[in-house]
């Protein structure tokens, strides 16, 4: 090897090391920026600061790192009475869990069935159905939200003084009824499954139902998990729909996000509840983030499929 070539290789590897070093530096700085708000919320959840006269400080304070730590926020939150509802937070958690679980089953089923039809079956109304669902999807969802509220109220599934618990059913309907129109991602996934597979099964005498059950569903595991993840986490993240559908004066049947949001901005916002709000955020975020991290692979597969095929 000639010396010039050796020098070039050496300088190249030095360049590479420098650029790697720069990359590390950028990523670490960015990583810290990305973590600061989340770390701050987590720290605030464990914050136990008192004023000189012994009163607890629950509002936003100017110090990033708390001067005292403890679990007071968590115990106060879990045992506390909010909006006249004793032990409101555990109730909200339970409401949300029920709503999320039911919504997850219904939505996933609807999405899969529509996506399969659109992708692998051919019938007269297929194109019109696809166009209609696209047009409907272009209207802002807040527009129909209030109409859904009127509709549910007229059939007693929300704002029903005799049965306030029915509003939970109403919210599940509001979340999952339109789910079938959001079939595009799953359809993109089914499109990739070779048609030859379906056709050869048909030659073997399989009915469309058998093809769906025995061939498509086993192959569709990633998209099933993706859809289930999306519809399960939806109710934990949404607060606007839940707030409007369940109603401001029905605190016992709120979802957890409505409850936490109302602590800061509700009809009786209390700035001294910030640390309890933070504690609630930690309790909600931990299971959701864990679920997300475990199923990350499927999530990425889903968003990529949706993005590339459109």
């Amino acid at each position: 090897m000639s010396t010039t070539k050796k020098k070039r290789v050496a300088s190249q590897s030095r360049n590479r090391r420098v650029s790697l070093g720069v990359t590390y530096a950028i990523l670490i700085v960015l990583g810290i920026i990305w973590l600061i708000p989340l770390v701050w919320i987590a720290l605030s959840a464990f914050r136990c600061q008192y004023q000189p006269d012994g009163t607890f400080i629950g509002r936003v304070t100017s110090n990033f790192f708390p001067t005292g730590f403890g679990f007071k926020n968590f115990t106060d939150l879990i045992t506390g009475t909010f909006y006249g509802v004793p032990k409101a937070f555990p109730r909200w958690m339970l409401n949300t869990l029920i709503i999320a679980a039911v919504d997850c089953v219904i939505s996933t089923f609807l999405v899969l069935s529509v996506a399969y039809c659109m992708s692998k079956l051919r019938f007269k109304l297929r194109k019109p159905f696809m166009n209609l669902s696209m047009v409907i999807g272009l209207f802002p969802s807040f527009m129909s939200m209030i109409a859904i509220y009127f509709l549910l109220k007229s059939i007693g599934l929300t704002g029903n003084p005799a049965h306030p618990e029915y509003s939970v059913i109403g919210l599940v309907l509001a979340y999952s009824a339109g789910a079938g129109l959001g079939f595009q991602v799953a359809k993109g996934f089914f499109d990739v499954i070779p048609n030859a597979l379906v056709e050869s099964a048909k030659l073997d005498g399989c009915t469309n139902f058998q093809i769906f059950r025995r061939i498509i569903l086993p192959l569709a595991k990633p998209i099933i998990i993706y859809q289930a993840l999306m519809s399960f986490t939806g109710p934990w993240m949404d607060f606007i729909f839940a707030k409007v559908i369940i109603g401001a004066d029905n605190a016992a049947y709120w979802t957890v996000s409505v409850g936490l949001y109302s602590m800061l901005f509700g009809t009786h916002p209390d700035t001294n509840l910030f640390t309890q709000f933070a504690a609630g955020c930690v309790i909600v975020a931990i299971p959701i983030v864990t679920l997300f991290m475990f199923l990350q692979k499927y999530y990425v597969e889903g968003v990529t499929a949706g993005a590339v095929k459109g």
Binding site: L38, I41, C117, F142, G180, W236, Y261, A285, A307
Partner: protein, 486 residues
């Protein structure tokens, strides 16, 4: 490609003009009536008659049940909350013969009895939907009978109920699979959307109605739309003054939010996927956290972190950089609007970049390595390779995503609502400095109860997103070759 060529003539044959198709449908309809058996002829009047004629009792009974049910509903007009369905609902749709009733509650300023106009409109549309369903089933029942006629003619036995059920799992599988979605989406998505569109043509504004001491509203044609351009009417001044600024900011926001997150995400993905970098997984996890944590948590955290009493402001004050807390997010009316706008775009990057990073990581790995090899041999620099290879490739693959995320950003509610609440607010106006069309729509309907104005804003939002979609999406390969692209 081969399949496309053979398919082409077939597609052409299917493409009839609209009048031709109507004509064909009518002649087919007349043919059915003339050619059909007595049962088929009777089916035109009594649902299921043809099926009874062909001894398909179960099917005939089901058809008859549907006809009886819908007709009973239409004639007897059962009412919910004092508002009837049926033919009375069609009459009520005019919103003419309405009364406030006598029971005025002075405490709430509202009537506790009398006509409920919103339910009248809603039930009117439900009734129209039922009439549509009636005629669809009518046609189905004739077709079913006519098919049995044809089967008889060629010597086949008409299908039994069991065979029909079994066919639902095979030839008519799509019917079985789509029915739940059709019913649910019609009731909870399509009807509510039509209802809200209709409200745009009414005087349904709760505040006005309270001022007038009435519980009623009426149709008022295009007046609400005119108010946007001329400023007439009770909310007209507000709408007129704020519409164009909000529309402009919605566009600016959507463009910046889309592009910053898109290119930021690609760059972040490139950094994380750099050859030789250790701890890729750790870095990814850190950034994914903002995708995984519910937005109402992460955005409210940022809002409080940047708030008046939050750590960031106190740090800036300790460092002597500012004397008074900075209103980053325009939460007070006196705060800078420009700063709030810049801040929401920056904070949105914090939320959106990891999302694009996740998505583009996989795409980056799929770029053929020999492209880079060839470029390296030619002596191309890293920057040049990024602009000449990586970027064109990624943009090509993710164009549909770019469009859908632009539309998503036009409708991006959380980022604005949770961070600034639309502030800084103008006194007397609903729409603040950072309000998008959707957050404005929310405020106007939910906070103000001005449903007609909200509906007008919603229709404008729809027109914008629909135009963008029509221009870009329908031109794209993914749409036009949707059938062949499998």
């Amino acid at each position: 490609m081969g399949s496309k060529v053979t398919k082409a003539p077939k597609i052409k044959a299917n493409r009839l003009s609209f009048p031709e198709r109507i004509g064909n449908a009518f002649s087919a309809f007349a043919k059915r009536f003339v050619d059909g058996s007595l049962g088929t002829k009777l089916s035109h009047f009594i649902f299921g008659a043809g099926n009874f004629y062909h001894k398909q009792y179960m099917k005939g009974f089901l058809f008859l049940l549907i006809q009886a049910g819908i007709l009973a509903l239409m004639i007897f007009c059962p009412s919910i909350n004092g508002t009837p369905y049926g033919w009375k609902a069609l009459q009520n749709l005019s919103l003419r013969n309405v009364s406030d009733g006598g029971d005025f509650d002075p405490l709430t300023g509202q009537f506790t009895s009398g006509s409920d106009c919103k339910l009248m409109v809603l039930f009117g549309f439900v009734t129209i939907a039922m009439i549509v369903i009636y005629f669809l089933v009518w046609n189905l029942n004739i077709a079913s009978s006519y098919k049995s006629d044809m089967d008889r003619k060629v010597g086949k036995k008409p299908s039994t109920f069991r065979e029909d059920l079994r066919d639902l799992l095979d030839g008519k599988f799509h019917v079985l699979m789509l029915t739940p979605t059709c019913i649910a989406a019609t009731l909870f998505t399509i009807l509510p959307t039509i209802f809200m569109i209709a409200l745009a043509f009414t005087t349904y504004n709760q505040q006005d109605m309270n001022d007038l001491g009435t519980n009623l509203f009426h149709w008022n044609g295009l007046q609400n739309f005119r108010a946007v351009f001329t400023g007439e009417g009770s909310l007209g001044v507000e709408i007129h003054a704020r519409f164009l600024p909000v529309l402009g900011w919605t566009f600016i926001w959507a463009i910046f939010a889309t592009l910053t997150c898109y290119f930021g995400g690609i760059i972040l993905a490139l950094l994380i996927n750099k050859k030789g970098l250790k701890g890729k997984k750790l870095f990814r996890t850190v950034f994914i956290l903002t995708v995984a944590v519910p937005q109402f948590i992460s955005l409210l955290a940022v809002r409080n972190l940047l708030g008046q009493y939050g750590p960031i402001n106190s740090m800036l004050m300790d460092l002597g950089l500012t004397a008074a807390p900075i209103g980053f997010l325009g939460l007070n009316p006196s705060d800078s609007e420009m700063l709030a706008k810049v801040m929401v775009i920056i904070i949105n990057m914090w939320v959106g970049i990891p999302y694009t990073m996740l998505m583009t990581s996989g795409i980056l790995m799929n770029i053929p390595a020999d492209l880079y090899e060839a470029a390296r041999v030619d002596g191309a620099s890293t920057v040049k390779m990024f602009f000449k290879i990586t970027l064109p490739y990624v943009i090509f693959v993710t164009t549909p995503y770019l469009i859908s995320s632009f539309i998503g950003n036009i409708n991006s509610f959380n980022s604005i609502f949770l961070l600034t609440g639309g502030g800084p607010t103008y006194t007397g106006y609903q729409a603040g400095g950072t309000d998008l069309l959707v957050t404005w729509l929310y405020k106007v309907t939910i906070d103000q109860g001005s449903y007609n104005t909200g509906a007008v804003i919603g229709i404008f939002t729809f027109l914008i997103t629909a135009t963008i979609t029509l221009i870009t999406y329908r031109r794209s390969k993914a749409y036009n070759e949707e059938d062949t692209f499998q």
